[in-house]
Subunit: 554 residues, 2 copies
């Protein structure tokens, strides 16, 4: 069966290779949860599967578990009450090492075929995963469905696609023939075998447990490595479902299910650090805090370490012929999932002398007011607002809003607590927008959550220099500018290239700076402190496997 | 002019791309020093250029030099007496940073065009470089010409080829069009710009100053980074000539010559470590000792670090129908450049019960004797032998022969001091071959130089297990087996794949395990402790640049 899986999904893979080269719009996984795409009853079945899972041990059989663990609570209220097997680092590494022996010999077509089948089955379980994502991350249902389901699957497929592409460039067997003047040439047969690096560790985050984990998980698995998935203790379920599906496919294909393992653990225990520094662990994919990411980069030197950390995302407003569009678009970006996205804007730079608009000069205060109004408007109708904001994933993020308010800065839009019509205990907050001066040290680091600053600058040149400096120092995963001037756009482009950040120009419509599309937008650049890799490109996959060559005379 | 360079060399680049994919035999740089290839008088002009350079300051103008440095002596006798400008780490980083501003904006075609022109000019200077390599490394002239000239240029071109290939996969501008049901699609223009990482540091070695430095130097330069070349204090001249040629081309193309800098320094000073840990240095290519390579991997965590370190190269003799061919081939591999190659074999495993040959069972002692005889034979005629062995690069390597002899192990072939007919002061030694038991700890680490062990094992299975374990622990850059059994060959193949080492089967003819051919053989695998990268593959180049994306509605 394991050979068939590649053939079964080959057509999709070929389209994916084309899409990754063309970088236009493409996705094989529908982002609309309509029954036309997912079948009648799929929504209900997914919800039931999630509800049935609550309050029970999760059905994952892992040998050598010494305990169970699990304390997830929904940001929308209530405990999930699910427990997972808990293994020591030794037991995880031993099981993964055993599984590697056979998995490594299977070769690229089998590795890729198994990955594609896993992704296919994950797609069928998108509703169950959506509920699991919603009730661990606090995302609204639609975002949980899209970002946690098809968009995450897209990013997983993208990683498999790049991995396949790089491995496919390695020939199987070739003949090398070196001319020897009038004598017979020297002739050798050379055989090239793709081999994995070893064990790969994937460290998930609490806000996008699937979207941020699938690229690393699939990039490593598709290149023959075994994978240990370590979820954030607050968002285990989405990855437990994922690991279970992966193990089912592996078992059916004749491999040791321990090729993919779940490393559920207690918050604050030492498991992540222990696993990350084991000599057998050769690859680490990490999403999380700058402190933990830097620790891995500095201490897990035996491994290839791919990190996505924090950054300070920035927006430059220079001039516009659609200030309402600017404010509406920015307001949406600030409110979406309450700013709990690594791409959410934080610092918005506006010259203190105001900006040029279609209606003439607009003062700084009027620009600020437009943004404030747009944010307040989005929060006006609680029932609609909560779908956009979702809930705050954890207490620390909620508390950070109060910390920011305590800075004592002028308030552009105040954060309000909303009551969710469906989940009365949900932790819902609207964005806090403050006004700051350019030299305020508070704007130089990340305020994760619905917290942003409109910053008065001396000029657009000052805005660009400030943004460039902060990106160089603190990193950024998104950057955006509004200008009607080609010269300013060119200035921003050069600053973005120097600082190593991707950027968007004049987003006033239905595209938001927070969002990236697989197969077209690289997520992160790997060129500034916010991340050392991009999703996905050759650099993300090419070093997850190596090539062993054998040569002999023929 | 800088745009023309790409066009001038495009045909060669296209052939190189094809060659790297097909991995058959290909080289654009002739390895024969014949006047038919290099022109009448080229040999004499190259020798004269080298002789003229001796005893003078090297003609390299670097601003901010605080001193001069240089104490190279020829392993064939005599001081070179050449001095080079000496700069502080601060001055080097400042100059490289200044040069980066313009170089980064030039883009892939210009970067690649400049690299191809540099390689073209290096090829024309192959004779001068050959003499410089010979009188710093101790290589015989022919090896110095081939490995220091055309073969090094091949490896440089190979790196440029891979870099170009990866950069060419990034589209310039594309349109993204997302369907919106019955509404107009969302349409965006997306622009992708390749940007460098920053400053690249190349740390050269004393035995193959050009061959081991060109891949990293050209991979980094071709991807828009500026390069600081830090030669080994004992082998500065070959890289000084290289840097001078690179700076000439850069200047003619309108760029700051400091895009490529020479960091000549005093042996034992702190310059390498200072440069390697500067935050501006984003890429490091290193060839040298395991201790220094590991230090870089553990401390230069701000940079991508590509290392080639030491290893224990191994040979398994199981059975053969051509024992003379085996012994002759191995003897040559041991004597070639006196084992001062990272790929020279060290441990030769032979079952103590002997091996099967075409003439029936052959005893362990007879196998050992055959190897000993082959080695002695190669050393018999001093005039011919010195062309093969060259000279010992430094006193420590010569002293290591005595250390090995002091182990008190039975001597299979003793190392002799030969008198070079042309250079009476040359440090010439023939190989020392010792007999050891499998549990002797001496065989578990590298003995750099003409030192090897014939090791008695319990069986071929024992030989394979021992080789596999030592490769996992100590690494290896080459591995070789002699067997007439398909089952044993399969066993070695699996061990090689698990340990991550490339290997050769039954080399009895004119190909030696020490040698690899660019565009066909990967040098190193990056999968065992001897090296964390291979020359050259996608993984070697893909992370030396990043992509900055800009998107806007259209």
């Amino acid at each position: 069966m394991s050979q068939d899986l590649f053939a079964r999904h080959q057509a999709v893979l070929e389209k994916a290779v084309e899409a990754a080269a063309a970088r236009g719009y493409w996705s094989p996984f529908s982002e609309s949860p309509s029954p036309r795409n997912y079948g009648e009853g799929a929504a209900e079945a997914g919800q039931k599967a999630f509800e049935d899972a609550r309050g029970k041990p999760f059905p994952l059989e892992l040998a050598d578990a010494f305990d169970t663990v699990g304390g997830e609570s929904s940001p929308f209220g209530g405990e999930l009450g699910i427990t997972y097997p808990r293994l020591s680092a030794d037991a995880l590494v031993a099981a993964s090492t055993r599984a590697l022996a056979n998995w490594r010999r299977a070769g690229p077509k089998v590795w890729v075929g198994v990955c594609l089948e896993i992704l296919h089955r994950l797609n069928r379980e998108s509703f169950q995963i959506a509920h699991a994502v919603q009730h661990t991350t606090g995302q609204g249902f639609m975002m949980a469905f899209q970002a946690g389901g098809p968009h995450a699957q897209d990013r997983g497929l993208e990683a498999v696609t790049y991995a396949w592409q790089e491995m496919a460039r390695i020939p199987g067997v070739v003949t090398w023939e070196k001319p020897q003047g009038k004598n017979d040439p020297i002739r050798m047969e050379k055989r090239f075998t793709v081999v994995p690096r070893g064990i790969a560790l994937v460290i998930g985050c609490s806000t996008f447990p699937t979207w941020n984990s699938y690229p690393g998980m699939f990039a490593s698995l598709a290149t023959g490595n075994t994978v240990i998935v370590k979820p954030h203790p607050g968002a285990i379920l989405p990855l437990a479902i994922t690991v279970k599906i992966a193990r089912d496919v592996l078992t059916e294909a004749g491999f040791d299910p321990d090729t993919v393992l779940l490393a559920a653990h207690e918050a604050g225990d030492a498991l992540a650090g222990e696993l990350a520094t084991r000599p057998e662990v050769k690859i680490i994919d990490f999403t999380g805090s700058t402190a933990n990411g830097n620790w891995l980069e500095q201490h897990a030197t035996q491994a290839q370490v791919y990190t996505e950390k924090a950054g300070v995302n920035q927006v430059i407003i220079d001039s516009t012929d659609d200030i309402k569009g600017v404010a509406r678009n920015l307001g949406f970006s600030l409110a979406l999932y309450s700013g709990q996205m690594c791409t959410a804007p934080q610092n918005i730079y506006v010259p203190r002398d105001g900006i040029d608009t279609a209606e003439g000069k607009m003062s700084f205060d009027d620009v600020v007011a437009a943004i404030g109004t747009a944010v307040e408007k989005l929060s006006g109708d609680a029932a609609r607002a909560v779908e956009l904001t979702g809930a705050i994933q954890n207490e620390q993020t909620a508390a950070r809003i109060d910390e920011a308010r305590a800075l004592g800065l002028p308030i552009v839009a105040d954060s309000k607590t909303l009551t969710h019509p469906q989940f009365p205990d949900a932790r819902v907050r609207t964005p806090l927008v403050l006004r700051a001066e350019a030299d305020n040290p508070a704007i130089a680091h990340e305020w994760f959550g619905p917290i942003s600053f409109v910053v008065a600058t001396d000029s657009t040149t000052h805005s660009v220099a400030l943004a460039q400096r902060l990106i160089n120092e603190a990193g950024a995963l998104s950057f955006s500018a509004y200008t009607t001037s080609d010269a300013v756009a060119a200035q921003v482009q050069d600053a973005a290239e120097e600082a190593g950040v991707s950027w968007s120009l004049n987003l006033t419509g239905p595209v938001f700076v927070n969002q990236t599309a697989a197969f077209s937008d690289f997520h992160g650049t790997g060129a500034n402190p916010a991340a050392n890799a991009a999703l996905s490109d050759s650099a993300y996959v090419a070093n997850r496997f190596r090539v062993v060559q054998a040569r002999r005379h023929v």
